[in-house]
Point group: C2
Amino acid sequence: MKEKILQELKSHAGFYISGEEISGSLQVSRTAVWKYINQLKDMGYVIESQTKKGYRLVESPDSLLPQEMKGNINTEVIGQNLKFFEQVDSTNLYAKRIAEGGFEDGTVIMADEQLNGRGRMGRTWASPKGKGIWMTIMLKPKISPADASKVTLLTACAVCKAIEEISGLYTQIKWPNDIVLNGKKLCGILTEMSAEIDEINYLIIGIGVNVNIDLEDFPHELQAIATSIKIEKGDMIIRKELAAAIINNFERYYKGFIMTGSIKDYINEYKERSAILGKEVRVTSSTLELQGTVVDISEEGQLQLELCDGSIKEIISGEVSVRGLTGYIS
Amino acid sequence: MKEKILQELKSHAGFYISGEEISGSLQVSRTAVWKYINQLKDMGYVIESQTKKGYRLVESPDSLLPQEMKGNINTEVIGQNLKFFEQVDSTNLYAKRIAEGGFEDGTVIMADEQLNGRGRMGRTWASPKGKGIWMTIMLKPKISPADASKVTLLTACAVCKAIEEISGLYTQIKWPNDIVLNGKKLCGILTEMSAEIDEINYLIIGIGVNVNIDLEDFPHELQAIATSIKIEKGDMIIRKELAAAIINNFERYYKGFIMTGSIKDYINEYKERSAILGKEVRVTSSTLELQGTVVDISEEGQLQLELCDGSIKEIISGEVSVRGLTGYIS
């Protein structure tokens, strides 16, 4: 009902609508209308009320509610089913819980706050309330598990594009799944799947973007390595616009991949945005530690590392540090 | 409590134990003892009761209860945590539901009956009550999703070995994941995983073995293509012995794989048991239909198919039919 009342207010954009009129068209009591209006005010909506005239929506908060998002989304599939939570443990965890029971392809889960946001390898991802985009796109692609890395790669391109459209900031991609600005982490992508050996049951892509986070909002240990759009731009941006731009761009890139089965159309864009191509790096994982120069990134998303003996080593996974003046920097 | 009373009866194997004694050592009323004894009788345990002497366990049913299984299991990890259900939708589905909350590596889920047993690609798997082994092994291997197929392959070897040990029957493997006898399906393996791009969160291996199923128990459409140990051997076997042998053998093979990161020690065994190596086959999938001769199976579990032009095509997934006198037979 709250959503329907908001819709009524929006359809009278800038003008008054009487409580009686709302009550009549939605078939609820005027007391109920008054109660819901107060709830909307609590959510940050600025609503003027005047005796005899009724209610007028003056300002909407920076909300990711589906009814706020819908006007900005122009997709066919992705985000057509949109679930929003004020608070969730993690949008990926939520997605995994509902996935086995079946879901609409392209469902998007969004949250204002994650209590247990996670990055790769089970790491914590800070997700303060109302200051970022914490979302998960749920997909059922008919591809093999080996091709899942391509979806991570195209997602990185789509998110960079969306950030550029909305904020004007040009971001880079730090292989495999981080989006960075001035060498600091702005966004992480966590792709997870449920699969048989040769077929994906479902694929979920968690996207966390630090949008309107102030430096002091970050845990102390992240302040030197993380950043946000607000910090870099000096200005807040409207989250729903960026979230919608991510959804819109993602659909475009993903559709291209599904139609061709390949990301060859995007690999150059990915490489242009690479923060490590041509750089001297150190790659570490549980099984290896290597130094070399990144000479290429394959269409499967694998790093081509030239070692000091001139040989090329293909790297599937690992943590990359880039060599700076004072040593290797994560 | 039922389990503890069973334990008491078993520890007096063949001899009487009085209701008073059981009641005293387990701190329950004699009425309760009587109630649980009746429940055990309902489960198929043959228990004699004589006034003054008490109870005597004469015969145990072909049960997969953990306390029945334990004496036959000699592993360190696999099956040390054993969960048994009289009825479940599917042991793989159950495993997936509990997996995200955390589980002990090597946990085994067993059921007497599956109401919604599944094979590859969501197909139905007939799992009649008390007549088969319907189990799932839950693992947390530190391997990449690309290596999951190796675990399917070694599982097939371990199950064949276990069937041979317990029943004397020599079974073959029909790539990728069926165990066959006289060209009919005896066992299916369904490997599923939850993974990030480069790391498995968890891997579950569903194993369904048709043990004491009579031909008329199979749905009509399966009677020509499915079989059971009882049908082939003409005799019933004790399910818990086979289930334990699968668990014991699986641990041995799996341990070897985890220690070396490779299945090179098992690939020859897998190929020796192959029902399709050297045969003319047709391979179909959603994206291809090919005919050729199977010339090899790689250590990654991929089929090497020689086409009529002499070229070799590597096949990751598909359905194989073998060419017989009257055409290709599934």
